[in-house]
C-alpha cells in the first residue's frame, strides 16, 4: 500500500545521478575557467546564499506540484513577505517581529489559495494566477513610493551572515529541505500528497482527506514563500515590491529539472534540492563570467527544455520496452497501473 506511488528505495535514482554528475561537471568547469569562482574554497559556499531563497521557494512549490497542482503566486507572495518584513523593520520593530509578521501574512495567502482550490474546487492554475495579481498589488501598495531599505545588521545576518564560512541562508535551506524530504517521504501527509497527485480518484476512494491535505500543502507553500521573501530582503538589504516575483520562473524550472512530474504523483524532493544547486551554480558561475542576467534566463530555459526532452525520450523508451515485455507475458499492457509499480 505504502509503496503504491513512492519509488522503490533500492533503485538507483538515475535522474539524481545525472544531476550530481552535471553539478560536478559545472563546478569543475567554472573553477578551471573563472579564477574567482572557487575563491579559496569558500567562494562556492558564499555563492549559495544567492540562490538559497530560490531553493526555499522551490521546496514549497515542489510539494504543491507533487499533488498535481501549481502555485503561480508564490513569487509574488515572497515579494509581499519581503515588503512586510522591511516595513516592520523600518517602523522600528525587531527582526523577530518582522520575520513572524512577514511569514504570517504569506501563510495567510497560502491558506486562502488552499481553501479556494480545495473547497471551491477551482483549478489551482487559475486561482493562483488571480492571487498572483492581487498579492503583487498589495505588495506594491504596502511598499509605497520609497520601499524600505537599510535594515539592522541582526536582520541582515539571516541573508548574509555565516557560521564557520557556511552561509546561514544555506543552512536554513538545508534544514527546510530535510524537513520537506521527511514530510513528503515519511509522514501520512506526504503520502496523501503523493497519492492525490498520482490519482485523485484513488485518493478519494481510499478515504484520504483531500481537501485538508490540499489546504495544508498550499499553506505550507505560502509559509515557505514568506521565508524566501525574508531571506531575499535580508540578502539584498532592501525590499523592492518585485523582489521575489522574478524567482517564480527559476523556482518552477528547478522543480521540473529536479524530475518532479508536473502532473503530480512522481518525483523526489532530494533531486529537486540537487537541481537547486545545479541551476544556482550555473547562473552564478555565468554571472561571474560576465554574462548578463537575461542571457542566463535564456540558458536556464534551454537547459530546462533540453533536460526535459532527454528525460521524456528516455522515459518513453523505457515505457515502450516495458510494455513490450509485459505484452509477451500476456499482461494488460494498456493498464497504466499494471506495469508501473513492478519495475523492469
Amino acid at each position: 500500500m505504502t509503496t503504491l506511488a513512492l519509488p522503490r528505495r533500492w533503485r538507483v535514482p538515475a535522474w539524481g545521478a545525472c544531476l550530481v554528475l552535471a553539478i560536478i561537471a559545472e563546478l569543475v568547469y567554472f573553477t578551471l575557467t573563472t579564477r574567482q569562482f572557487a575563491g579559496h574554497g569558500t567562494g562556492m559556499l558564499d555563492l549559495t546564499e544567492q540562490f538559497a531563497p530560490t531553493g526555499v521557494l522551490a521546496l514549497g512549490l515542489a510539494m504543491v506540484i507533487l499533488t498535481g497542482n501549481i502555485d503561480l503566486s508564490c513569487g509574488a507572495n515572497a515579494s509581499l513577505a519581503a515588503v512586510i518584513a522591511g516595513t516592520v523593520l523600518a517602523k522600528g520593530g525587531g527582526p523577530g517581529l518582522a520575520i513572524v509578521a512577514a511569514i504570517a501574512v504569506s501563510t495567510l495567502f497560502g491558506l486562502f489559495n488552499g481553501i479556494i482550490v480545495a473547497f471551491v474546487g477551482i483549478d489551482s492554475l487559475l486561482v493562483t494566477l488571480a492571487t498572483q495579481f492581487i498579492v503583487t498589488s498589495i505588495a506594491t501598495s504596502v511598499a509605497g513610493a520609497s520601499p524600505p531599505f537599510g535594515f539592522s545588521s541582526a536582520f541582515q545576518l539571516i541573508g548574509q551572515g555565516s557560521v564557520n564560512d557556511v552561509p546561514i541562508a544555506l543552512l536554513i535551506f538545508l534544514v527546510i529541505a530535510l524537513a520537506v524530504i521527511v514530510t513528503t517521504g515519511y509522514t501520512g501527509l506526504g503520502r496523501s500528497l503523493t497519492l492525490i497527485g498520482y490519482s485523485p480518484r484513488a485518493a478519494l476512494y481510499s478515504g484520504i482527506a483531500i481537501r485538508g491535505s490540499l489546504t495544508a500543502v498550499f499553506t505550507l507553500c505560502g509559509a515557505l514563500s514568506g521565508l524566501a521573501g525574508v531571506l531575499l530582503a535580508a540578502y539584498y538589504n532592501s525590499a523592492q515590491p518585485d523582489i521575489g516575483t522574478d524567482l517564480l520562473l527559476p523556482a518552477i524550472t528547478v522543480v521540473i529539472l529536479g524530475g518532479m512530474d508536473i502532473f503530480g504523483g512522481r518525483g523526489r524532493i532530494g533531486e529537486v534540492v540537487l537541481a537547486v544547486f545545479l541551476l544556482g551554480f550555473l547562473s552564478q558561475g555565468m554571472l561571474i563570467e560576465g554574462d548578463s542576467s537575461l542571457s542566463i534566463t535564456m540558458i536556464t530555459g534551454l537547459v530546462l527544455i533540453g533536460a526535459l526532452v532527454i528525460k521524456f525520450a528516455f522515459e518513453r523508451n523505457l515505457r515502450q520496452r516495458l510494455n513490450a515485455r509485459m505484452r509477451r507475458f500476456r499482461t494488460l499492457s494498456r493498464d497504466p497501473h499494471g506495469p508501473e509499480g513492478h519495475g523492469s
Binding site: L126, A130, T136, S141, T253, F263, L294, I305
Partner: protein, 348 residues
Amino acid sequence: MTTAKNVTAASPARRELSMPPRWTLLLRRREILVTAVIVIVVAASTAAHPYFWASGNLAFIFADSVVITFLALGESFVMIGRGIDLSVGAIMGLSAIVVGFRIQNDGLPLLPAVLLGAAVGIVLGLGNALLVGVVRLPPIIATLGTLSVYSGLEFVVTNGNQVDTIPSSITNLGSDTVLPGIPVILLLTLPFVLVSAWVLRYTTFGRSVYAVGDDAEAAYRAGIAVQRVLFLTYVISGLFAGLGGVAFLIYTSGASSTTGINDNLTAIAAAIIGGTALTGGVGGALGALVGSVFLTVTLTALSFVHVSDVWQPAGVGVLVLLAVLYDSRSRAGGTRRRAKRQRQGGPR
C-alpha cells in the same frame, strides 16, 4: 465530495425540464454577458465622470486593448485545444523589437512590417509547436521554457538599444480615429478576430480544435490527427503574438528588451474572462476581443474613480476569480486532473 458530484451530474437533466426564459439563455453566451457588463460599467462611469464617454477616452480604451486582443486571440486557439501558451508576451516583445529595428533603421513600410512580424511570430510559435506537438512535452512546461528563452533572446537582440523612433505615418494608425471613438487600429484588428471566429466555428480545423480540447482520446478515435491540430494551434498563437508585436509598435511607438514581459498572464486572463476555459473545448475568438476590451474598460474606470494604478493588477486578479467562479465548468476537476488521466492512458 460524492454528494457534490451527484448534484452536478443531475443538473443538466433538470435544466432540460424547466426551460428558462429566452433572455437568460442569451446571457449564457459569455461574449454577450461580458458585453452587457461592459455597457453597464461604461454607463456607470459616464454617470460619475462625463469625460469617460468622450470620444478621445473611448478611442484610447479601444486602442489600449488591441495588443492584448491579439495575444488573447492566439491564446484562445491554444486554450480551446486544452493547452496553455505562457510565451505569447515574449513572442510579442521579440516581434516588436525585430520589426521595430527594421522600421527604425531601414524605413520598412507598414505592410512588409506586418508580414515580418507575422513571420517572426510563426517561427517562434513553431518552437512551441515542435515541443508540444512533436516532442509531446506538457504545454505548461514547454512554453515556460520557451518563455525564458524568448525573453532572454529579447535582451540579446536589443543589445542595450531600444526602438524609439517610429515614423509618424505608422504611429498615426494608433492615434487616428475613423469615427469619433473608433480608432483605425481597432478596425485593422477586427478582420483578424472575425476570421479567427469563422475558422474556429465553421472549418474542419476549427471544429477539430474543439474536439481535441474536449476529449483528445475521443478526437483521436474519431480520426482527428490530434498532434497535428495541437501543433497548428501553437503556430497560430505565435502568429497572432507576432502581429500583436506590430500592433504594440503602432500603439506605443517604441519597444525595449522588457516589452511584453508582463503580458503573458494578462492575455490568459482576457481569454478566460471572454469565456475560454482552461479545461478546453469551449470558448471563441470573439471572447478574446470582448475579454480584453472588458479588462481595459474596467481598469480605466478604476483609474477614473481615483484608484491608484498600483491596484490595477489586483483588479485583473479579482476579475479572473469572478469569471472563474461564475463559470461552473471550470470547477471540480479542472484541466490538470483530466490531462493527467488522459496521459496515464496514452503512451508516454
